[in-house]
Symmetry: D2
Subunit: 326 residues, 4 copies
């Protein structure tokens, strides 16, 4: 088995629902296959500082349904430096950790990639991010839950009394990726999604206003991806107040609620299958790959490809939104 | 029966979960007791403009579980004027409406009071507001649902990775009333609630900081009532950044999600009992009263008392929060 | 302080949502007031067998939102015997536990009462049961959550396609008490509640059928308290099939889902206030009382009164259900 | 456009969450593309009996979030006969309906297939069933919601106090298909799934018992697909009581709650995309096909293939369950 006896697992970056299901699957699959398991708290920071504890099956009992991550995450300045990474490597040596499973988003996988290269370590990544912005995988752990959280929040907002001609901008996460805004808009029957992917091509707000979106004389709901290029909900509202003062505009920023909550069935299943696949990957001698899912098949994606910022959205959905808001 | 043959029902002001359950109970209790029912859409605005339709039992089928109000609400400038109220009265005459049930908050009940006095009309109010700021009633329709919505949102925020020494301000509704902030803080295990009732007596933020709230080295969550006197979450965050720059402060404003959602069991039961009581009140010749609940008994509260701005919060709970955040 | 230095806390009997919030409040209030705390696992069984661990503030971190009880519960044959209770007492002595807080239903409080009398121990009880069948308190920890769980389940059942003349019996918990069935029926707009309190007085099923409940030609939903005297949902369905074969009858038994789930805001607040009051009670020299809530005031209720099986339901609600199902 | 001017839409068979989102998408896409729309109530029964109404955009406002189907469903004996189908065809002629969109499960699509063949009608089907048992499509409308409903219910059951060696059988839907049981077991961390697909090959209960499933000394949860070949939860419990009397066995049958509830984001998006595709299919001259989704691409599947009873489950997941329940 390529000399691997003991596997470390950590979560890193912004947390995502389903990370606990992944930790559970990694731990138990490893134990079932005869490996030892070390849990590293607070991500790479904990690796640098030595927050490492042995994990048995009981440590991951009854966590599959919990939001957040029992291993916590943190940003680490130290791990950004070569000295920090040396300390991290030393801690791995000291604890006898031969391989790592890193659960996180693009920043975390980029860090993992560098660390793996520098110290010739077998590292497998799992895509844990609500933004769904990792390439080589159809979806990421946490995305489905965040989408449902958004949908439930927008449903509540739509419940409330709808005066004439109000324009609600609801800001959702996704700094460089419009998946949550676009699919959230489809799922809530919103009038539009304003997303970063086309922000430089089209004046999305202008188009929306010109399309006469509010001919129903009801409130209109627009989902906006938090992003510098879209302007965010606040930026758009400011622009409406200036350019189209006839609209009564309201802003809701969903914020941190989108990262939390008990994971959905789909996220738990995805996280479980990916967690198992991470151990299989290490057993097969894979390294420096992220486990992805494509057409319901688990695949290995080189880190370099996974973190490339080019995952395409389905542009047809923009037309669907438009057609269905008649 | 004091000459009442036909009862109108409307919802007014900010909507609240449970209003539909109240509309259903008013309608069916009235029909069961031999009255005719007219539903008025868009609140007093609809009364002025004549948006009035007869309601049968089927009109309120399968609505008990819905958030918002099927009758919609609106603000009406016209109803603020004597001319507008004359038109409203004329519409009632034209439709044969002898009495009104008005479901809404303090502004709505104040409007109802004036209208009733001016035209000598039997009007009964139901306390429909998430803020719980009506006097003479232990609780209001929508408050329990809003409180649960807040609790679920804060649970999600607490799920997310907790770095050291972050201070989350979560703003909840309640312009002049701290019920949601105070009880929301108890229910979520928050470190503090910052409420308008004591804003002029105490420097609540200063006390919180000085108490060394974050000795756990975990993120701290503080619920803040949206209010000019508290400063709101944004105002407090600004102050922290200026006065206590060592804290990493974050803001979430829950906003309109708090008004929506399927009503809780308690709100449905309250709304149903109060809706039934509104018809009983009219049958008994009551007028110009709000139905309230005190110690699980339905009572009649004069409008003048209900809208008096003096409902006390339970100050002991502030001490409870402090004690339990050790 | 009457010689109390160390307080033990346990949960017993069927578990109820909010028990964790109570454990947290008991633990932290005790610590805040200078007591030591011992947590006893698996209820009286753990007391007999010595499953006792010291609790600090961290032991109850982040549990307020969890269903079930972190201390587990169990039935104990041994504690039913004098020898078993002697062992329990010895364990208390050994651990230095001077007083107990027992969270549970009527069986648990009856056990606590006997134990307290036999060994002259200060014991305070908290009403933890979804059935709401303890006297001297308006409501019990877990009841509001169970009621909401029922309401959400019935909402889902009502969603499904409604053929003509189907009769759904939905069985809910409450062996000797119809609170869940009665208030669940009000909150879901059900056609009837069949409850034990009036089972010997009235042929509830016969009345329902004779009232021509299904003149809407839609499915009818009836909530049935699990009970020998009502016959339960299965018993009623059998009777319908025999006596009224023209009806298409369906049964759903909600079962164990009613005990679980994250507690509602109301249950968390109730549990928190009661947990705090339990320590206050011990501090004030109270013993052999259950903490209750009456008209939003915390009160002490002698065990003998709390477990008396005479808590009245609000019979007016039966008429409300009938009137609103027109 | 092949002579199609007016499109009828109906839902049929057991209802499924997301059907309303599909009705909305069918209606608005049709209207947007210049077709007229007729809604048919109560499925094929309504087609036979002429329950047909014109639909405009407003008829499908604010329904995307609702469970069940606003068009209702029913079983129709008449449509089983040639005479009945003639009446259905006559009603279509009378109303000017040129093509049909049928949303339902395998029975409904089989009926649609026969009807289309007999009268040479363009009919397009959408897979609306919680069971996910239609071939040629990765998933069906309603499956994701039902799976989440199951997961939330099992989470609640797991919350409750876990005595030693209890064996919970939780019965979920899926008469001939184990998708809900198998994936539900993965998502809840259950000890096993007992499914029809392998019922004749393996003694699943015997294997479970022999594997010593309960060496944790905690309650074990097993999800069972409702099915004659599995025996269902009741049948298995009876067998355990007879063959393994040392186990304390409990049964919960989730039943009709699985069909209801607000659809998840995934079901709303799937239903919306498929509803749009149904109109595209008719525009392109497609007929007698079901819209399916494969690898996130919308495809057309001949009815004959869709209703073939051969959709394979992922058997690897059985091993995953076993490995993760250590």
């Amino acid at each position: 088995m390529h000399g691997i006896n003991c596997i470390g697992v950590l979560t890193s970056g912004g947390d995502a629902p389903g990370m606990n299901a992944a930790i559970r699957a990694v731990t138990r699959t490893a134990l079932y296959n005869g490996f030892e398991v070390r849990a590293i708290y607070h991500g790479f920071k904990g690796l640098v500082e030595g927050e490492i504890v042995p994990f048995r099956s009981e440590n991951v009992s009854n966590i599959i349904q919990l939001g957040g991550t029992i291993l916590k995450t943190a940003r680490s300045q130290a791990f950004m430096t070569y000295e920090g990474r040396c300390r991290a490597y030393d801690n791995m040596q000291k604890e006898g950790i031969d391989a790592l499973v890193v659960i996180g988003g693009d920043g975390s996988l980029a860090g993992a990639r560098e660390f793996a290269a520098e110290f010739d370590l077998p590292i497998v990544g799992l895509p844990g991010t609500i933004d769904n912005d990792l390439s080589g995988t159809d979806t990421t752990i946490g995305y489905d839950t965040a989408l449902n959280t958004i949908v439930q929040a927008v449903d509540k907002i739509r419940d409330t009394a709808m005066s004439h001609e109000r324009l609600f901008f609801i800001e959702v996460m996704g700094r460089n990726a419009g998946f949550l805004a676009l699919n959230g808009a489809i799922a809530t029957g919103a009038e539009a999604a304003i997303i970063p992917e086309i922000a430089t091509e089209v004046d999305q707000l202008g188009e929306l206003i010109r399309s006469g979106f509010n001919h129903h004389k009801n409130s209109s709901i627009v989902l906006v991806a938090e992003s510098e290029v879209t302007g965010g909900a606040m930026g758009l509202a400011d622009r409406v107040r200036k350019e189209y003062p006839e609209y009564d505009v309201r802003v809701t920023i969903l914020g941190h609620v989108q990262r939390g909550g008990s994971p959905t069935a789909a996220d738990r299943i995805l996280a479980t299958r990916m967690g198992e696949a991470a151990i299989t990957a290490l057993t097969e001698g894979q390294r420096n790959v992220m486990v992805g899912i494509q057409n319901d098949q688990l695949v290995y994606v080189p880190f370099s490809k996974a973190i490339r910022d080019d995952k395409p959205i389905n542009r047809n959905l923009l037309q669907t939104i438009k057609m269905l808001s008649i």
